[in-house]
Symmetry: C2
Subunit: 354 residues, 2 copies
């Protein structure tokens, strides 16, 4: 147990009651609307939180990289979707080993080369690996461009040894609920022409989380940020300040000139992610103070030069713009319940980029 005063800054503090509330609220929403919840662990990267998500009703988890999935499998999680095109012999061999030690592993693919690689790796596996075809419903990242292309790729997947096509996956654009509904419905119709059923229709994203039920075609929702929330979710009306479970605790180290304070959290903690917002985070209790710029170890706060909101050594909490990337900057986060700090949590999947 650590006292608040003993916490070294900068650090990330996480309110466990808030985490629990955030998880339960969206789980209840998904239960009510009969949507399978598959949280993305990229936001917290902490095994205990993934287990907690499962314990209260999540179907399984989502990971982006094999390294993340391996960490979660080690913790006993048996149902993992990796939403990434996996290529190359080394990664495919790891994927095969992972598949052999958990109950259910699914991956996505948006092109034939990826499918052929997966097939080579799984052709002699005891059970086929389940494939979702990734669809670009407007976000402009990965994904096939049309429902017809989705169906063609589904057919390729289904015909290759070691693979089993099970459905569709997308990361939608902002306000993309209607686009997902249309694309998935059309892709299902195209797939039906080949006799293929899309059992799983997986969408996701925190920005439109409360709209998930408005795309009834969706059977599964992937969401990460909701566990902590952040300034971007607040700005989009998805949560209130008190729903932001992770804050960066920092200290004022310099007051060089009127209207300027320097804190000990810079881009190595808050990151340079603007995430469509202005400035680099929300200063709790100081709505009129701006996190103007960051260097690696310093944040520059600006405010009305006639005011004196800070002293040297004063502690300041920042709600980051984009909390997922902030998680990735810490080896540990400090867990707090009712103002008492428990043992810090190891961010086990931090830095797993491979």
């Amino acid at each position: 147990m650590t006292e608040f005063a003993e916490l070294d800054t900068p650090c990330a503090i996480v309110d466990l009651d808030c985490v629990e509330r955030n998880l339960r609220t969206f789980q209840e929403y998904c239960d009510e609307h009969n949507i399978a919840l598959r949280p993305h662990i990229k936001t917290h990267k902490i095994t205990d939180f993934a287990l907690q998500q499962i314990a209260i009703g999540a179907k399984g988890i989502t990971c982006q990289k094999i390294g993340e999935a391996e960490v979660m499998a080690d913790a006993g999680i048996g149902d993992i979707l990796i939403t990434y095109n996996i290529i190359g012999a080394r990664k495919l061999a790891r994927l095969r080993r992972l598949a052999e030690r958990i109950d259910q592993l699914r991956v996505v693919a948006d092109n034939e080369t990826v499918l052929k690689g997966l097939s080579t790796a799984f052709s002699d596996a005891q059970k086929p690996i389940e494939i979702l075809v990734e669809c670009d419903t407007g976000a402009g990242r990965c994904g096939v461009q049309s429902p017809a292309e989705a169906a063609w790729l589904a057919k390729v997947a289904n015909e290759l040894p070691g693979l089993k096509f099970v459905g569709l996956m997308t990361y939608p654009p902002g306000d993309g609920t209607a686009k997902v509904e249309t694309f998935f419905r059309d892709a299902m119709a195209e797939c039906a022409k080949f006799g293929l059923e899309c059992l799983v229709r997986s969408s996701g994203g925190t920005p439109d989380m409360w709209q998930a039920h408005k795309a009834p075609v969706v059977t599964e929702y992937r969401i990460g940020t909701y566990i902590y929330n952040d300034k971007s979710v607040m700005a989009r009306g998805g949560c209130l300040e008190e729903d932001c479970a992770l804050r960066v605790l920092t200290e004022v180290v310099s007051l060089p000139a009127p209207g300027r304070a320097i804190i000990d959290a810079g881009s190595k903690v808050l990151t340079s992610d603007l995430f469509g917002l202005e400035h680099f985070g929300y200063v709790v209790g100081h709505a009129d103070v701006t996190v103007k710029s960051l260097s690696e170890e310093h944040g520059i706060l600006t405010f009305d030069p006639a005011t004196h909101p800070f002293e040297i050594g004063q502690r300041v909490q920042i709600i980051p713009n984009h909390v997922c990337v902030v998680s990735n900057m810490f080896d540990y986060v400090q867990l707090c319940r009712n103002g008492i700090f428990e043992n810090p949590a190891f961010v086990a999947a931090r830095g797993k980029v491979v």
Copy 2:
């Protein structure tokens, strides 16, 4: 020894011949101009590179955080400047322990509160801790605002038990060489009024590295990026492409639409640092390809839709905008000499934000 084909992407590859050339070239420049070189280890965060910098002539090293300095002291480095206002009992106790096990530890201060904390921690130390007064010569970060304030703070430092004022330190603004010269000269004159000598006048920064001799008042130069260089240094004319020693090796994982390719390096590797540039890095060998945007694990490359520069699985090297922050995203970097990969180097000071 690892073959190139066995490297898992994304990863950071570092050309050791290029590193050596970069280090030697600027060391020779400093030797020629009688400037003490004190490299900032924040760029590489690797103990062997710090030792190499010392071995070829650097006076000591610069760190930003105590945690970085501890790692470097563990590796046997005995002369460290921490360019950070250090506050709080826990950090000060660590600083004291660090001072007791290396030859020379210096820190900066830009306000009286910091000096009083340092004095409390060092008042009964065997030898005083050496203090540089940090000056804001226009960069608008930390630092006293005027030469008179610098002298006043120098006097405070000199009168407090456990402290010894030894000089001035600044991180200059771009094109700040003349400003540093003027500020430091004036501050020295102000200090002289109190009978105080500024033995050390420490400036730094890669952007103006080749102008260092044009501020002859400067006795010591702190510089980090020069070991690897990056797109920002290239853009400012400070180096050529072949001088960029660290590249992010990534693979094309998706070609969803004409003019768009997706690589497996996103903001968790390249970071969102624009550093005054447009887009997120330079694609080696593809000057006409843009790293348009990043999500956490994906980079989106855009190019003329009539062209087909990439295949799925193709390896692409990216020179990052700002290499220091990219170093911080990896636990290891891959070292290469003449195309042969040696044992990877542990980025020992990664993530040391406290």
